[in-house]
């Protein structure tokens, strides 16, 4: 509710200049946002409540509460292994894509060369295409080479959009580094390796962290590519959730809900960490806000 008040308080000094017609609009905007958030809250809390429900049929609230569904989900869906797989896949994907993407984004940020536009297009397409579009041929090919279904296939498939994503995220960070620092280091006799480890890497830490955390969030949430390349031993949490929900029937809905809550909490932690490193408004453009 303070939502509606604050912008108006900010608008009061300008009220003399601003026509009164603006305020119903403002009201409408903040009102519809409040409705959206309320519905969202309802959606989320119905899952959270259900994951603790003993029984919940035709009533406002369940008849009783129990934490047992979490233990149930942990055992029944082998969550330990699933979370392990999720971590393995995402850490591998983050590591490889940063190692491969960071040098490439350095070159793309600093040099222009013939064919650069075509190269950029090749790097952009995996991000602009629906994952299913390239995922299906890719999964067919990986199966043909016996790399999928399995952990290798999942990691390889997830690298396809992640490497371009690292390149796109890091390029603006590299552009912000003054090239004369590198020139100075070269003058002092540093070779490329030294330049990278001593000069660029420390300056790029924020960019690398931003890219890494964002790729991590994306990989943990990536459904299609993992779904196409995984088998029951290499399912990540999203895919395990999906198969649990589609194959539910005999299983209790509550334990699926419990698993979904675990997933949400995990993603929330990741997102909060991500927001610490990245100002979301700086993702697409280099906005310099004085303080924030």
């Amino acid at each position: 509710m303070s939502l509606t008040l604050k912008p108006k308080a900010g608008a009061t000094p300008a009220a003399a200049k601003r026509p009164l017609a603006a305020s119903p609009g403002t009201f409408l905007i903040w009102g519809s946002m409040a409705v959206f958030l309320l519905l969202l809250l309802g959606v989320v809390s119905s899952v959270v409540v259900n994951s603790f429900a003993k029984e919940w049929f035709d009533t406002w609230l369940p008849s009783g509460y129990t934490p047992a569904w979490y233990a149930d989900a942990w055992k029944e869906y082998d969550l330990g292994q699933v979370i392990g797989t999720t971590l393995t896949v995402s850490i591998a994907v983050v590591g490889i894509s940063v190692l491969i993407g960071a040098p490439a984004s350095y070159v793309l940020a600093r040099r222009s060369f013939p064919g650069k536009n075509i190269l950029m297009l090749v790097f952009l397409l995996p991000i602009m295409m629906p994952p299913i579009t390239y995922g299906i041929p890719l999964a067919t090919l990986l199966t043909y080479y016996h790399l999928a279904p399995g952990l290798t296939g999942v990691i390889l498939a997830n690298l396809v959009p992640s490497i371009p994503f690292v390149i796109l995220t890091m390029t603006p960070f590299i552009e912000q580094i003054n090239p004369s620092i590198e020139s100075a280091a070269r003058m002092c006799g540093a070779n490329m390796l030294r330049l990278f480890t001593r000069i660029l890497a420390p300056l790029l830490v924020p960019g690398i962290l931003a890219a890494a955390v964002l790729v991590l969030v994306r990989t943990v949430g990536m459904f299609e590519l993992t779904f196409l390349t995984s088998d029951s031993t290499s399912d990540t949490l999203v895919v395990a959730l999906f198969t649990a929900m589609t194959g539910a029937g005999i299983r209790a809905q509550q334990s699926v809900d419990a698993m979904a809550v675990v997933y949400m909490l995990m993603m929330m932690v990741l997102l909060v960490v991500a927001l610490r490193f990245v100002n979301p408004t700086q993702l697409v453009s280099q906005v310099r806000e004085e303080t924030d």
Binding site: W30, S46, P103, Y106, R111, M129, P137, L156, V284
Partner: protein, 307 residues
């Protein structure tokens, strides 16, 4: 020692185009530097271009029906209903993307200034990213379902229960919930990239907020709007899990991704699946190109903000 090794390479790189010493020193490493691109290029070629070309080839080699057999099957076979699925997907993706962008603009416009609690509010708006399709689907089924809180509440007010899930609306809802945070974040960044002094100048010239928005903010925002629309559209166009979970995949929400997956994972008809995937990519690219053409017609000039 690297100096001597690199010298011949520099001759190839048109010396003299950049005369300054510092540039010549930088140019010296150009060959070595371009090698840094190699791993990324190899990965893109091996894991993206090659599978894509392979899939394209596969789509022209169906077991029956000649070279275009898979495409003919996709478009005409009543059990595949490919044309139908394209239509269904567009009917979901276009309104969802449009709505997400259009709603984000006024909210981002209100939020670009500084006020207390801005960071908290941004976080709240971005949180839906963390929900994931399954939790959203479960939540929609619970909340909007026949016996859910919303229908209970409507019942108190004396309305009939609404059928809001297991159909088109359920999927649209989940697309809005998952797409809005992205659209909002992108629009907010593009809006904050526009120099406020431009608007301040317009204000001193007597422009009211409508004029300022139409003549200054909107044209500067157009590229950002186009890109945001494209990205949210891609997100919505690839809808797959939620079409199964909160939709009605055999009927009203038989999206194209579902058709492609069905051919691939259920019927093991790889040429048909590849054909469906290629058609999916093509339709999506057509929409994106149309949007970008619109954007280039609407405003030609520098973007003010970086966009």
């Amino acid at each position: 020692m690297t100096l001597t090794g690199q010298r011949p390479a520099r001759v190839d790189q048109e010396p003299g185009s950049r005369p300054a010493l510092s540039h010549r020193l930088a140019e010296r490493g150009i060959d070595k530097l371009l090698l840094l691109l190699l791993p990324a290029l190899v990965f893109a070629l091996v894991l993206f271009v090659y599978p894509f070309v392979y899939g394209l080839g596969l789509s022209f080699q169906p077991k029956t029906g000649g070279v275009f057999g898979a495409y003919v099957k996709f478009f005409t076979d009543p059990s595949v209903r490919g044309l139908d699925s394209i239509w269904v997907t567009l009917q979901l993706a276009l309104p969802a993307a449009l709505l997400n962008v259009l709603v984000s603009v006024p909210i981002a416009y209100k939020m670009r200034g500084k006020f207390r609690g801005k960071r908290a509010l941004t976080t709240v708006l971005v949180i839906p990213i963390t929900l994931g399709t399954v939790l959203t689907a479960e939540g929609l089924l619970n909340f909007f379902g026949q016996r859910g809180w919303l229908n209970r509440f409507l019942g108190l007010l004396g309305f009939e229960p609404l059928q809001l899930v297991q159909n088109y609306w359920g999927v649209l809802w989940s697309l809005i919930i998952s797409g809005f945070p992205f659209a909002f974040l992108l629009i907010l960044s593009y809006l904050s990239g526009i120099d406020p002094s431009l608007e301040a100048a317009a204000r001193t010239l007597g422009a009211d907020w409508k004029q300022r928005f139409r003549r200054i903010t909107l044209p500067l925002l157009a590229p950002g709007l186009a890109i945001t629309f494209c990205l949210t559209f891609v997100l919505a166009f690839s809808v797959f899990p939620s079409a199964i979970l909160v939709g009605d995949p055999s009927g009203s929400t038989r999206v194209i991704a579902y058709v492609a997956y069905n051919a691939w994972g259920q019927q093991f008809d790889y040429p048909l699946a590849s054909a469906a995937a290629i058609v999916m990519g093509a339709v999506e690219l057509v929409v994106i190109v149309l949007v970008l053409i619109w954007r280039s017609r609407m405003y030609k000039g520098s973007t003010g903000g970086k966009g």
